[in-house]
């Protein structure tokens, strides 16, 4: 039998109830702003009190309760290659993805800080495709690419360079729909896409309590296509959310429930995740922080709320404010990721990212692959039974003996331990012989080898062709 799932808990059951009650009452009395005429009408039709002047919708408790009833407790982020599917189940194992939306990179060869370019994109996909600790992939964008259709082109390249699930980023509602159509081509049809959604999306209300028209459209479009959605709630404590951790959590939970209402009343059963991504403002500078122990604490409490509502949860994992892949980066991302994993996160988000999510680096991705796999291992726990407890073996070896050559050691040699690909544990002598490399040196070396040698599983030729034709038509339609 396995050990217990190690759940980190901050909230008591009574506190969870209190937060839930607080959100219900805020939704009913304060309400949300919905910058979407149809959305307001829709909410009114379902029983919300709507003030069209201020675009405010006050949502009664019974609507929220009804919406919560239809949220599925599990779903799968499907992959083009089914072996790489990521089933998200409350209490299940965590998966991970890179952070999306970086604008800059640290050049792998020269170490120079520079804009992320189109030429880098393929290398990033290859690398993330090869790394086992990156379960699915968010596209990266070249700053030198045309603005219109950039998201579509990036999805085309992603499909060609990885068979893992893909996490979309759309710049407009129009391009989002086009990208869902592209996904339908690869999945083999709209129905097939619904059954096995090979893409997913993140949408975030603007804190506090404001839903833009594009957000409402995206929530509904996801429901229509059956695309898994991260309802990403990220109030910035002290800025767009209360300064107190409890207050920020209260607001975050309220915004999540509002997202559930908009999604589920339109498309009951649409798959969604509680993406609890609390932020905190650095009160000295106004910057929003990625590395702060309180973020980990708030996120952990957010995961408890997700379990209370019985939905999968996505948290910030390997994340840092550091300017480079230095000690600060490793320190911040390791505690963030470990806290998130031990809080029951289904998805750990952020691999590769630094400097408030502006920078992604290949070395960092390789290091985060390791950090993620360590987190996976920590959550997995270990087996406890008569054979594993090994009383008989201890008796056999006896006081003063050793276990090295015992059959029991031989049997469990390879199944008990995390196998590091990057961390050094040997003698100083052999370390010096190997060039006295640091963790970052070894990550760089590994990244270079993968980029040179890794061959992603290509798209079938006919699919590639069909996609290309679709993309060129899509780009033309966007330019109009």
């Amino acid at each position: 039998m396995k050990t217990l799932k190690p759940y980190l808990k901050y909230l008591s059951d009574a506190q969870i109830e209190e937060i839930n009650e607080g959100s219900m009452s805020l939704l009913e009395n304060t309400g949300i702003m919905v910058d979407h005429q149809e959305g307001l009408e829709f909410l009114e039709k379902h029983g919300a009190k709507v003030d069209y002047q201020t675009k405010r919708a006050r949502i009664p408790r019974k609507l929220v309760t009804r919406a919560l009833e239809t949220v599925p407790d599990r779903f799968t982020l499907a992959a083009r290659n089914p072996e790489k599917d990521c089933p998200l189940i409350p209490g299940g194992r965590p998966y991970s993805r890179n952070g999306g939306g970086a604008d800059f990179t640290i050049d792998l060869e020269t170490g120079e800080f520079r804009p992320l370019l189109h030429a880098d994109v393929k290398e990033y996909y290859k690398l993330m495709d090869a790394l086992e600790g990156i379960s699915f992939i968010a596209p990266v964008f070249g700053q030198d690419m045309p603005v219109i259709g950039r998201d579509i082109l990036m999805l085309r390249e992603a499909f060609g360079n990885t068979d893992k699930p893909i996490h979309l980023r759309a710049f407009t509602g129009e391009s989002l729909k086009l990208m869902f159509e592209m996904a339908a081509i690869v999945a083999g049809g709209k129905k097939e896409l619904k059954e096995r959604p090979i893409v997913s999306l993140l949408e975030a209300p603007i804190s506090p309590l404001k839903f833009l028209d594009v957000t409402v459209d995206a929530l509904w479009l996801c429901g229509e296509y059956g695309i898994p959605l991260d309802v990403c709630v990220m109030p910035i404590a002290g800025g767009t959310g209360p300064m107190t951790m409890a207050g920020n959590l209260q607001l975050l939970n309220t915004e999540f429930l509002a997202g559930v209402v908009i999604s589920q009343l339109a498309n009951p059963g649409a798959p969604l995740q509680y993406a609890a991504r609390p932020m905190a403002m650095d009160m000295r500078t106004g910057f929003s922080m990625a590395g702060s122990v309180e973020l980990g604490m708030m996120a952990s409490a957010g995961a408890q709320m997700a379990r209370f509502y019985n939905v999968p949860v996505s948290l910030h994992g390997p994340w840092s404010d550091s300017m480079s892949h230095d000690g600060q980066s490793i320190l911040e991302r390791t505690y963030m990721n470990t806290m998130a994993a031990l809080s029951g996160a289904n998805v750990l988000v952020g691999a590769g990212m630094m400097q408030q999510s502006l920078v992604i680096s290949q070395e960092q991705l390789v290091i985060d692959d390791e950090i993620n796999r360590i987190a996976f291992r920590a959550v997995e726990g270990f087996e406890i039974n008569e054979e594993h407890l090994a009383a008989e073996v201890i008796d056999r070896v006896g006081p003063g003996g050793n276990f090295v050559a015992d059959m029991h050691t031989y049997k469990f040699l390879r199944s008990e331990r995390f196998e590091t690909k990057l961390l050094y544990h040997n003698s100083r002598e052999s370390w010096e012989e190997g060039g006295s490399t640091t963790l970052v040196d070894r990550a760089k070396e590994k990244a270079l080898i993968i980029i040179k040698e890794h061959q992603p599983n290509p798209l079938p030729e006919d699919l590639g062709k069909e996609l290309d034709e679709f993309v060129s038509k899509a780009l033309k339609s966007l330019e109009k």
Binding site: F104, R150, F171, I236, M283, R284, T285, G286
Partner: protein
């Protein structure tokens, strides 16, 4: 009298706005000049606040509380200062550029600039180049500050500068830009006057440009 100013500065530092307001009235009743109170009481007080903010001792909300206290005094003086012809410190137009709906950074800059005594015209989010141009014409501003959170919306900053040129008013205003993906290099490339990396730096930059 300098003792009174010391107390006024201390109250301002502690964000005690009713005390600062009362002290300003008392100082006027005692026959002191409005300009004198402004310079040696309120502005001198805010200079201490600015120094301690820059050294990291004060947090932004504390600075805003100090600014609120400063404004409580300033409101008392304003009619008198207007009479004597003491002009505003400067007018700044702010906006998040077209296509971009992120505004917490821009709002912070707005609050800090108002705190420092500047007049702000906030155009909000999703502001098109022609709206900036119209605002410059209508408001007679000294500076426009543009914010962008996304690399996809950054090109709109350049369009605004071009629109200002085409309208023949580029030399009438200074342009400052900021936002997460923006860099000083980008500011240089598009012909902006300055780049400010954070709200505190934005206030300093505005001061430098208007002196």
């Amino acid at each position: 009298m300098s003792n009174n100013f010391e107390q006024m500065q201390k109250d301002l530092y502690d964000g005690k706005f009713s005390e600062v307001e009362a002290a300003t009235k008392t100082a006027l009743d005692e026959g002191m000049g409005a300009q004198d109170i402004l310079n040696n009481g309120l502005v001198a007080g805010m200079e201490i606040v600015g120094r301690d903010f820059k050294s990291g001792e004060l947090f932004i909300p504390e600075v805003l509380m100090c600014a609120r206290a400063m404004h409580a005094g300033l409101e008392v003086l304003r009619p008198l200062l207007a009479e004597s012809g003491a002009a505003s410190m400067g007018k700044i137009i702010l906006g998040t550029v077209t296509g971009d709906l992120h505004d917490i950074g821009k709002n912070l800059v707005s609050m800090m600039l108002q705190g420092a005594g500047f007049d702000i015209v906030d155009l909000g989010t999703d502001v098109k180049p022609e709206q900036f141009v119209a605002a410059v014409r209508d408001e007679g501003a000294d500076i426009i500050g543009m914010s962008a959170m996304l690399t996809t919306t950054m090109p709109s900053m350049k369009s605004t500068i071009t629109a200002l040129k085409e309208a023949g008013i580029r030399d009438k205003v200074k342009v400052i830009i900021g936002g997460a993906p923006v860099t000083s290099k980008f500011a240089e490339e598009i012909g902006a006057d300055r780049y400010a990396p954070d709200a505190g730096a934005a206030v300093d930059t505005v001061r430098e440009l208007l002196v």
